[in-house]
Symmetry: C2
Subunit: 447 residues, 2 copies
C-alpha cells in the first residue's frame, strides 16, 4: 500500500543500505519544523493519525515491484534477494508521536521513528507530506477559530485546493474548532458535521429572487438558510423575511461591505420579528477580516472560510524536516547533529517536557529521551507503534477537537496576536544532558 | 464514484431543482479565472483530463445514498423518487474544454458545461478543485521552465504538499517541460521519468563521507549521482571525483552560495578530467533564483525544485470560478451576466478565438459560441464529452508536453517577465455579437 508514494531516493538509499550490509543499522529519525513561518506564533500538529495509518499499512505490491524492476534508476539494484526483501517489507520498528492536535513550536519533534535504518528512512517522504500539510492547515485554522471568538465557523475551501487535500483540510479545520465543513465526503469519512445552503446560480436559474427563495424553502422547510446577496442584499433580506417568515433559520451574505450590510440585514430581520434568524458571512475571509468585523460590532453569527484557509495564503508552505539524530551498529552508537547556520539540529533521540511557569509562561524543555523524567511532567512524545504494531486506543475526532481547543485557549495571550513576528515561540530550553551531548558532538566533528 | 466529494450545496440545489420541477432546465456553465494573480502573466490550463475522467465516472454509490439519507441537512429532501434519481444519476450533457496545457488568460473559459441544470451544477466543486489546483501548479512550473533556459528540471516537492496533491504536481510540472519527478508513484501512474540520488542522511549514516560515496557508487555503478554538500562541498567534490572517477554521472549541491560553490566544483571536476559530470542544484529554488544563477554564469546542468513549486508560494491560490452563463426552459432562454465590480461575467455561451497580430502580439477574442467562426482561426474550446460520452482520442502525456512547451516558448517576450504586474494579459476583445448581447442583458436587469 502506497509504497511508491515517495521520493525515489528513499528507494535508492534502501537498496544501498541493503546491498552494502547496512540494513540492520538501528536509527532514530525525528520530524520537526526548524523555525515557524513569520505569520505563525504556534503550530497545531496534524496529520499524525494519517502518518500512523500509513506506517501500519506500508507494503510493496506486485505491480510496485514490477515497476521498480523496469525503472532505469533502480534496475541495477533490483537483485532477486532485494526483490524478496521488498516483498516482505513492513515497518517493524517503534514510533513515538505527540498526540494529534498538540501545540508545538520550532525545534520540537512531532514524530520520532526508531527502527532499522532502512525501514525508518523509507517513511520520510510520506510522513513529511501528510504532517507538513495537515499542520499547515490546522495552524492556520486555529488562528481563525481564535478570531471568531465563539462564533460558528464552516470550512468552505474544497474548490480552492486539490480534491484529496480538501478532505484533509476539512478534518484539520474541524480538529481545531471549526463547526463543520461543506465537503460531504469529509463528513462521511470523518464523521464531522456538514453544512451548506445554495449558490448564486440557484437564484439566477430562477425567473426572480422571490421564486428562488420560495422554492428553496419549500424543499428544505426545516433548514432554510438563504443566500441573499445575488442582486441587492437588503432587498434580499426583506424578501427572505417576507417569504419564509419565522421558519427562516439563517441568511448568508457573500459580498459587499459585510460590516455595514450585516447591520442593515439584522435590522430588517428584527423588524420582521426574526430575532432568532442567524446571519452568516463568507467571501475571502481570514482571521484578520473576521476579527475586524467583530471589533466593529458586525452582528454575524458565523463565518464560512475557504481559500485563505486551505491555501494558508499568508504562510503557504511549512518546512518540516525529518532528520537522522542517532544511529547504532555493531556496538557503536553515534549521535548526529548539524551545526550549519539556520539548519542546526540537536543530537540524539529526544523528549519534550512542557510546563507553565508561575507567570503563566510556557516552558518547553528539549531533553534526551533516555534521561530521567522530571518530576510532575509528562513527555509530549508518546509511543504509538511498538515493533510495527499500533498501540493504544484510537482517539475519537471529537475528543481530539476538545483537547486541542482547550490547549489553544490556554496559551498565553501573546500567542494569539495575528501580527507577524520573528520569535514568538517559547525559547526552547535544552536539558543539561542534551547540552553535554551537544558539546561532545561538536568537539568530535572537527574531522 | 466520488459523488460526495463536493460542497453540500450542490446536493441541496440538486434536490431543490428536482423537487421544484426545474431539473430539466437546460443550462450552460463556464469555468474561468476572472483576473490573474499579480505574479502571473499567463496561465497554463491543467487538470482538464482529470475533470473529464471525473465527469465520466461520477455516480452515487449505495453507501453515498445511505449517508445522505441520514444527513440532517438533506433528510427532508431524500424522498423515494429523489433517491431513485440519484441512483440512476450520471452526467448526460456535453462538455467543451480547451486542450490540457493551453495558455489562457483572465476571463477565458477553460471548460464549458452544457446540460441539464441539475447535472451541470453538480460538477462545479470537483471541476474547480482539480482545475484550480492543476492550473496553479502548471502556471508556476512554466515560469521555472522559462527561467531554466533549457537546463533539466526535476520536481522534488512531494514532502511539502498533501500526498495526493503531490502526484498532480508531478504531472503538472512534467506537462510544461520539467524533465521528471522524484515521486515514484507519479512515474508509475503517468508514465513520466523518475529521478533521485541520496539524502544527507545517507552520508551521515556512514562512518565518513568516503565510505558513503563508495557504497553508493557500488550500488549504482551505472547512475552514480552524489550529494556532496553534507560537510564541505568542495572537499565533497574532490572526494567524489577521486572515489568514483569517470563513472561519476553527476553531483548535487543543496546548500551554501550555489553560484560560487558551483564554479569551484566545476573546476575540481574538470581538473579530474570529469568534464562530462553534471552539476545539479536544489534547495528552495524558484524561477527568480534559477534565472539569477544562470545570469551569473553558474555552471549548473539542472535544478531540483520543490516547495516553491508545489505551494506556488508567490501566488498560493487560484480563484477560478464556475458560472451560470445561460439557461433555457419551456422555450424561454436567458443569458446571465453579472455587473458587480471585480465580479463581472459575460452573458451567453462562449468561444475563444486566438490569433497573432502582425506585430507578434496575441489577440484573443471572446465570442458567442453560436456565432459564425471567423475565417482562418479555430476556437480554443473543443467538444470532449457528447451526451455524457467521452469523444476524441486521449492525448499522450508527451504530446501534451510538446504542444504546451511550444506554445509557451512562442508567447511574446513580455509574458516571460517574472516581475509582478497588474495587467499583462492580452486585453480580451469581445466580438460584436457579444457586445450586443451584453447591452441587451444590461438593459433588462434594471428589475
Amino acid at each position: 500500500m502506497r509504497a511508491l508514494e515517495t521520493d525515489l531516493y528513499q528507494l535508492t538509499m534502501a537498496a544501498g543500505y541493503f546491498h552494502r550490509g547496512l540494513a540492520d543499522t538501528t536509527a532514530t529519525f525525528e520530524l520537526f519544523v526548524r523555525n515557524l513561518p513569520r505569520a505563525r506564533r504556534y503550530l497545531v500538529a496534524c496529520g499524525i493519525e494519517s502518518a500512523l495509518d500509513y506506517i501500519e499499512a506500508l507494503r510493496f505490491e506486485d505491480d510496485d515491484i514490477a515497476y521498480l524492476r523496469e525503472l532505469p534508476a533502480m534496475r541495477d539494484a533490483m537483485t532477486p534477494t532485494f526483490v524478496e526483501y521488498l516483498r516482505a517489507f513492513r515497518y517493524r520498528g517503534d514510533v513515538f508521536t505527540v498526540p494529534e492536535g498538540t501545540v508545538v513550536f520550532g525545534g520540537e519533534p512531532m514524530v520520532q521513528v526508531r527502527g532499522s535504518l532502512l525501514e525508518a528512512q523509507m517513511l520520510e517522504t510520506f510522513l513529511l507530506s501528510t504532517i507538513n500539510h495537515g499542520t499547515m492547515i490546522a495552524s492556520k485554522a486555529s488562528r481563525v477559530v481564535t478570531a471568531a471568538a465563539g462564533r460558528s465557523l464552516f470550512e468552505f475551501g474544497t474548490r480552492r485546493t486539490h480534491p484529496d487535500a480538501a478532505l484533509s483540510c476539512a478534518r484539520a479545520a474541524y480538529l481545531v474548532g471549526f463547526a463543520g465543513t461543506s465537503n460531504v465526503e469529509a463528513g462521511k469519512r470523518f464523521g464531522i458535521p456538514v453544512m451548506g445552503t445554495a449558490a448564486h446560480s440557484w437564484t439566477m436559474a430562477h425567473a426572480d429572487e422571490e421564486t428562488a427563495f420560495a422554492n428553496y424553502a419549500a424543499t428544505f422547510p426545516q433548514s432554510t438558510i438563504l443566500l441573499i446577496d445575488t442582486y441587492d442584499t437588503l432587498r434580499g433580506a426583506e424578501r427572505a423575511a417576507r417569504i419564509v417568515g419565522d421558519k427562516l433559520k439563517g441568511v448568508r451574505i457573500d459580498s459587499g461591505n459585510l460590516g455595514e450590510v450585516s447591520r442593515g440585514v439584522r435590522t430588517i430581520l428584527d423588524a420582521h420579528g426574526l430575532t432568532a434568524t442567524k446571519i452568516f458571512a463568507s467571501g475571502d475571509l481570514n482571521e484578520h477580516a473576521i476579527a475586524e468585523l467583530l471589533r466593529g460590532g458586525a452582528p454575524f453569527d458565523g463565518f464560512g472560510v475557504g481559500t485563505e484557509l486551505v491555501c494558508s495564503t499568508d504562510a503557504p508552505a511549512l518546512g518540516g524536516v525529518y532528520k537522522l539524530v542517532e544511529w547504532e551498529r555493531g556496538g557503536q552508537r553515534r549521535a548526529i547533529a548539524k551545526f550549519a547556520e539556520g539548519k542546526a539540529t540537536y543530537p540524539g533521540a529526544h523528549q519534550v517536557y512542557r510546563s507553565v511557569g508561575v507567570d503563566g509562561e510556557l516552558v518547553d524543555v528539549l531533553a534526551l529521551a533516555d534521561e530521567p523524567v522530571p518530576a510532575g511532567v509528562r513527555g509530549l512524545l508518546e509511543r504509538r507503534i511498538l515493533s510495527g504494531i499500533r498501540v493504544g486506543e484510537r482517539e475519537p475526532v471529537d475528543a481530539i477537537r476538545e483537547r486541542t481547543m482547550a490547549a489553544v485557549r490556554c496559551l498565553p495571550s501573546r500567542f494569539h496576536s495575528f501580527s507577524p513576528t520573528e520569535s514568538s515561540a517559547p525559547s526552547l530550553q535544552l536539558s543539561p544532558s542534551l547540552v553535554a551531548l551537544l558539546g561532545e558532538v561538536r568537539a568530535s566533528v572537527s574531522h
